[in-house]
Subunit: 285 residues, 2 copies
């Protein structure tokens, strides 16, 4: 996470651009120019990366949209990860994996081991299987100087169905937080832990409480924009230094061209400039 | 699931062979004959499929081990899925996905939509995000006549860390069961629902209670063999007709050649014959 914080400071931005490409939604001209799936994903992803790389610290690929395109989608994911790294971006793959220990280790190898095709700087993980699963990721991330974002309180409308259940005065997501804080991998010498947390912008009260509970975790915050979360809802998450939260926007940036005649690249760029300005107002001392 | 039950009856078997390939563990001769990742995975996977296809209803690919091999791993996964289908097997991809609705739909397209590269007959899904996520999978599976296995009580040692937490006299996993049973997609006209459940062999008491709670779900049962679950522990799961559970073994079958000089194919075959016999004794009226 040290690398992420450095890039946030250098760009003066806490925005991560979510790359969730849906080919059916691409402009007709792009579909005509690139007849195959790989070419279309590369062309679209490259426009986004080139439009935003100097303005933001990070991009977040949503693995599902690439898996949905099959083998050519996975090839594009590999090559777009490389392109984003070449442009100096911190690269997150939003995979939300979780499994029994041996299998979780295999997932960790896929995304966090040096030289892997899909190697990125950080991934998201799901806590439902408990610490067998989590620790397989913690171990690999620790060894390879990578980052993790553990799902705590997700941004979707039904996130409370399990996550908000209360037992003994604590919710399930608060229990996930307790287990994380008690884990030997959490913490570190100083500064932020390599284990961050996914906390939705759509639940500002919980966001505020979680910031207090997890002062050493960077929050990955989905739900800004298209999902309904506003920048003021997020302000508590930035923490005293202003770098405690990385705020994601996907559709609001990558499809900005639908309402902006400047084209994909320019529209994404303008949307990021506006988002940086919107968020930076709340994280100034 | 209708298709799965038909195949279980035709083969008189409730065994699913888990294909979790770790290249470092392959025999030296195979590594020498096949210098590349794709070739190795195909050779190994083909030996397993050819060894067991006439003895079992299903195979279960563990996606993590293919993702860990990068793009060539994904290419092998695609081609091994096709090979298993050609051999008449019900094919499960153990992906344990879960995400916000729009993203869960993309995952469902990747694995459950007709003609997708990674199209299989059923996948496993993770309930931590609630019904936005679950229903995206339920909808796609329902439309395409596919199966799902919702993680309820997993087989790993730390599965109780969250899943066994109690609130209001119910555990978290019992709450997942209640929500499933209340869902409009659950049920169906008669016979088994297309929504099954993952329940570990390593927790026989819970398995017994879950069988009563979910009489219309086929259970996908990991944990037999290498993880420590025995066949007697599983007997409650078969239900009155003897087809209520599909029992997975991965390492005990695919690496059986390490203790059997007959080679990968023959050793896998013999391990399956023994496992069929072991399980069938408990599911007879």
């Amino acid at each position: 996470m040290r690398l992420l914080i450095e890039k946030m400071k250098a760009k003066d931005s806490v925005v991560v651009v979510g790359i969730d490409p849906v080919i059916q939604r691409f402009p007709t001209e792009m579909l005509e120019n690139f007849p195959d799936t790989y070419g279309r994903l590369m062309a679209f992803g490259t426009e986004i990366i080139e439009g935003v790389f100097d303005l933001v610290p990070a991009v977040k690929f949503q693995s599902a949209y690439f898996e949905a395109c099959g083998l050519e989608g996975m090839r594009a994911l590999k090559d777009l990860i490389a392109r984003a790294k070449d442009r100096g971006l911190f690269v997150i793959n939003d995979v939300k994996r979780g499994d029994i220990g041996s299998t979780a280790t295999a997932y960790a190898e896929a995304y966090l081991s040096r030289g892997a095709d899909f190697e990125v700087d950080a991934i998201t993980i799901n806590p439902y299987l408990g610490d067998d699963s989590n620790e397989a990721f913690y171990r690999m991330a620790s060894e390879n100087d990578k980052g993790l974002f553990l799902l705590i309180k997700t941004s979707n409308p039904s996130s409370g169905q399990l996550q908000d259940l209360e037992f003994g005065g604590k919710t399930l997501y608060e229990r996930v937080v307790e287990d994380l804080k008690a884990n030997r991998f959490y913490g570190g010498n100083n500064g932020y832990s390599f284990i961050g947390a996914v906390v939705g912008a759509t639940y500002p009260v919980q966001l505020h409480r979680l910031r207090e509970a997890l002062p050493r975790s960077v929050f990955l915050i989905p739900g800004y924009g298209a999902q309904g979360g506003g920048s003021e809802d997020i302000k508590a998450a930035f923490g005293p230094d202003g770098y405690g939260a990385l705020v994601n926007s996907s559709r609001g940036i990558i499809y900005a061209y639908e309402k902006n005649p400047g084209g994909i690249r320019q529209a994404a760029r303008e949307a990021v400039v506006a988002m940086n300005k919107d968020l930076n107002q709340w994280r100034r001392p």
